[in-house]
Symmetry: D3
Subunit: 115 residues, 6 copies
Amino acid sequence: MPNQVEEFNAYRLKMNDKILADDNKVIKRIFNLDTNAFKEGHLDVKTKELLGLVSSAVLRCDDCIKYHLESCYKEGISKEEVMETLSIATLIGGTIVIPHLRKAYEFWEELELNE
Amino acid sequence: MPNQVEEFNAYRLKMNDKILADDNKVIKRIFNLDTNAFKEGHLDVKTKELLGLVSSAVLRCDDCIKYHLESCYKEGISKEEVMETLSIATLIGGTIVIPHLRKAYEFWEELELNE
Amino acid sequence: MPNQVEEFNAYRLKMNDKILADDNKVIKRIFNLDTNAFKEGHLDVKTKELLGLVSSAVLRCDDCIKYHLESCYKEGISKEEVMETLSIATLIGGTIVIPHLRKAYEFWEELELNE
Amino acid sequence: MPNQVEEFNAYRLKMNDKILADDNKVIKRIFNLDTNAFKEGHLDVKTKELLGLVSSAVLRCDDCIKYHLESCYKEGISKEEVMETLSIATLIGGTIVIPHLRKAYEFWEELELNE
Amino acid sequence: MPNQVEEFNAYRLKMNDKILADDNKVIKRIFNLDTNAFKEGHLDVKTKELLGLVSSAVLRCDDCIKYHLESCYKEGISKEEVMETLSIATLIGGTIVIPHLRKAYEFWEELELNE
Amino acid sequence: MPNQVEEFNAYRLKMNDKILADDNKVIKRIFNLDTNAFKEGHLDVKTKELLGLVSSAVLRCDDCIKYHLESCYKEGISKEEVMETLSIATLIGGTIVIPHLRKAYEFWEELELNE
């Protein structure tokens, strides 16, 4: 059975490895910053992941939404909290966010099924 | 033969049903508003659908374009009127809209074929 | 008394003249196309101006909104039709459109006062 | 002395009143939803305000940022938490967010001064 | 073996032909302008293609990125120059550009393989 | 006489200093990267500044446009090259870029006057 979560991760990791193997310092540092920015600081990891999720949703980036949905799932964030975050995204970003909401919902279902 | 129109509608309806079955009031109300906003008011339904189409095109949302193209088709809006609307979208939104124009054109052809 | 409408038009015309006095053919042709695209065709001028207005609103461009509001006003489009168009923009584009809705409302008031 | 916070609120309230006095149901309901969406639910008010702030920042809407900064301030959110939220916005949204970061910083200073 | 480059070009050309066969003057002229704007002028073709590439990347349009990547490749632009251009896009446009960076990298590999 | 260039720089430097005085590592590193990314590499500084300019223009960020216009000016880039870059931005980003083109043109005039 095709598995969206595994496919997404496999492609992401394969391409990230290739990109990072190249010697572009700006890109490397941005990837590095991305890891650091979501570590616990004044805000906890859970809040930061929700910030990443809502930003990805209002900017309508499906792959970014998937990435943060998976991190949310691993952090033990509930479906209700995720949906509340996505509802704020849909209100702020408008109905143009709805197609991404559908894909997000489907991806979350796969995350739950994968367990 | 794969049929883009049917596939699009089937997925949209399936996921909308799931999303609405959840008890998120903000999302439910946004879906409701979406139905109400396109009903006849000071502007007629046809004009409103063209407003929905051009907005979807400049915001470069393929699924939103498809949704409004189908509504336009059902309202009896002509291909020439749709293309004129999309030409305004391409002028205002720039050549970055062209890839969405190609997909819109293809979807309209399928709507005509489906009859 | 400061007059937003006159100030906006004076600045726009002054800078457009300077830009067009330069010999950049691509820019000249885009300005030309902009005039042609909003002329009567398969769709009437009124519908096209509303398409321009809603696109400007979802793309959140205050100056573009002002420009199309003035054209709408000159075409005899009613305040109710303008507000219905802007309500669709706010639904599709999200609450992020609201600050632009406030400025649009204020500009429309000035258009009515100027008469 | 000019006061950015008071000016912003005065203009916002004046125009919101005018817009809501008109009988446009879609706009009224969106304003209503906006109030409801940020009430405590599965997520607390503080988290929701940070979600509103980060969304406003990545979408680069100065007025929306100001609105959520003031709500954050009233909720007792610390400057460090606000800056961490804005740092995530700058990473996800890119350096294009920096001009909005400068204005956000200035507005926060005024919120602190106003006390 | 499926070939992304050929598939992309075949679909693009097929749909462009259909769109241009229609008698929409605004669209025709925009397509025409697109050809003219990237010809040598005060800036050389190579620089213009990089401008097209970086714009497509910050606007997150995969098809536009592919189109300019192919033109860059034909102009003899090196992979290092392309990656440096995309690194600037990722910095300015934010981490939201990264999913498009992955697809761009993959497409460039196919361009090199196709030779 | 008010001077747009000096005002812009004074405000930018004052706020950047305040932001960097705070101990937010993510923001500090992004500011640092911004300096590094535009240094000579596989592409020369002039080309990189034009990449920064066109990206700022299609993303419609007035302050970012001003920043790169000043760097372009200091690098000895001609007005014709700047206008050609901005014409590509207007074609790709659409007529929605025109209000930013007007402000860019005005800022460039001030840069020339300041000499």
